[in-house]
Amino acid sequence: MRNNGDEKVIKENTNIALDNSHITKKGALSICNVTKIYDPEGVHVIALEDCSLDIKAGEFVAVVGPSGCGKTTLLNIIAGFDSLTHGEIYLDNELLAAPGVKPKPGPDRVVVFQHGALFPWKTVLDNVIYGPVIQKKMSRDEAIEIARDKLSRLGLKEIENVYPGQLSSGMQRRVEIVRALINNPLVLLLDEPFRGMDSVTKSASHEALLELYDIFHKTIYFITHDLEEAIFLSDTVVVMTTRPGKIRMTIKVDLPRPRDYRMLSTPRFLELKETAKDAVHEEALKAFQRGERELA
């Protein structure tokens, strides 16, 4: 199920495809009525309830919602770290996950983790080339060449022989994105990748990610708390409700691509932002009050 015929695509990408016409569009996700119940010691925690969502191949979906609403849970299910309780998930019309069917985590659905998971014991370069080399998709030298190119695109030159512990958290995040992208995944799962960056680095990272997205057009599941970021980057913004997590609304972002920072002040952008803001604010308020009640 995973990676069939993907080998070819990777090989073609070796010389960084400048025209992407011959890259087959794959990576459509359809999430049907997914429910997830955690059950530690008999206490039901309904993390997700009846979530349905269609993500087209190559679509950039940003998920926003209050803390603890199940954004990461859905990501974990797609990645194969967790099982689901009800419902199904299809990847390119093939069953990916269902009750009792748990996909093996693999390089077709690569995750960038919420708290960062670069191997601290490997240098930046070794981290980045880890995937393709152990999958034996490329030789080490090939991988290094591609890695260098991608690192420099994200403004990460001259740090390849440094250990991740010495980098700022913003740099670590970007290295992790490169480490994910170099596997040429069908779906890229990003869990708050730009958290904790200063605004300058953040906007630079946005530009870099958009540039990469415009070239590779991967399906992206992007979790964030920043509404502006969500609208600016994505094709669709998904707003989730407080626990139990449901999908409250999906907002189609019809801003043209390539995106540009001037769009942040266009009337259409502000209009979209208003819509999303109202929904998110209401959910956040509920979550906050519920938090107070749970404590009481």
Partner: protein
């Protein structure tokens, strides 16, 4: 609050629904899970193999009794006064040494962490003495202290002392410097900083030091009793050896293990009490 919040309540309610399971079923689930069953199998297997090795007369098990004999000896010994007196003496020595190590070690560690000058003055000397194994102090201790009881307690003290001091010092030096600064900028006096920041922040490391320390003290006491003791459970074991009475040796070992385990449990309870905000280990 507004109406939307109240209508939300039912979903709040079913968020933490306790599954209806009877107490018996839950107990059953807790006792008979895979981990416990496998653990029991392993331990039973251990005794079975031991028994078989003795019954089959393996050469290295020549002097070793079967678990059954050991159990008989155990039951026999438990009814004797010597056994309990020995245990009592060892426990007392552990207690004295351990308490003395806390009483002297914690202030010393705090002082080293509190004052830079004091640390420069004392820490290197401390580091030079630390690698000397506690048992190497036995002769000096016997020479110095007037009674045997005191010298064994002293060796026990040495065993726990270095660990305690080191742990406390580590705890104090790992306190975030921001804490001091914010306290100072809020107008705290040095004694406040000591009482409100340094002391509470070093409690977890004191607890760690105590946990490690209690293990060491039992080790030291047993060794010291074998080398220089009269009375004590270590001595009892050693006399079992001198008399060629292997079952007593094994019973001694088991009792020591059990006593050590019990005291670790007690220290753990104490250290949990010391820090109600978190569970260590």
């Amino acid at each position: 609050m507004s109406k939307t919040n109240i209508s939300k309540d039912n979903s709040v309610a079913n968020m933490f629904v306790k599954k209806e399971i009877s107490f018996g079923k839950r107990l059953q689930k807790k006792l008979f899970n895979r981990t416990n069953i496998n653990g029991t199998i392993a331990i039973l297997g251990f005794f079975l193999i031991w028994h078989l090795l003795v019954v089959l007369r393996m050469p290295f098990m020549k002097h070793i009794p079967t678990p059954v004999t050991v159990l008989e000896t155990f039951i026999n010994l438990v009814t004797k006064k010597v056994y309990w007196v020995s245990l009592w003496f060892s426990t007392k020595r552990v207690f004295y040494g351990f308490v003395a190590a806390q009483v002297l070690g914690i202030p010393l560690g705090l002082a080293m962490g509190w004052s830079r000058k004091f640390k420069y003055l004392s820490f290197p000397v401390f580091e030079v003495l630390r690698p000397i194994p506690p048992l190497a102090w036995v002769p000096v201790s016997i020479l110095f202290w007037p009674t045997n009881e005191l010298s064994i307690a002293f060796i026990t003290f040495i065993g726990a002392f270095f660990t305690i001091v080191l742990n406390v010092l580590r705890g104090v030096s790992s306190i975030d410097k921001e804490l001091y600064r914010s306290a100072l900028s809020l107008g705290a006096k040095p004694q406040h900083i000591f009482r409100k920041i340094i002391l509470p922040a070093s409690i977890p490391s004191i607890a760690t030091g105590m946990m490690v320390g209690i293990g060491i003290t039992w080790n030291v006491v047993i060794a010291a009793e074998m080398i220089a003791g009269d009375k004590g459970i270590g001595r009892l074991t050693w006399e079992g050896y001198l008399a060629g009475d292997t079952p007593t040796i094994i019973v001694g070992m088991i009792s020591i293990g059990f006593a050590g385990w019990l005291s670790s449990g007690i220290v753990k309870i104490i250290s949990d009490r010391m820090m109600p905000w978190r569970k260590l280990f």
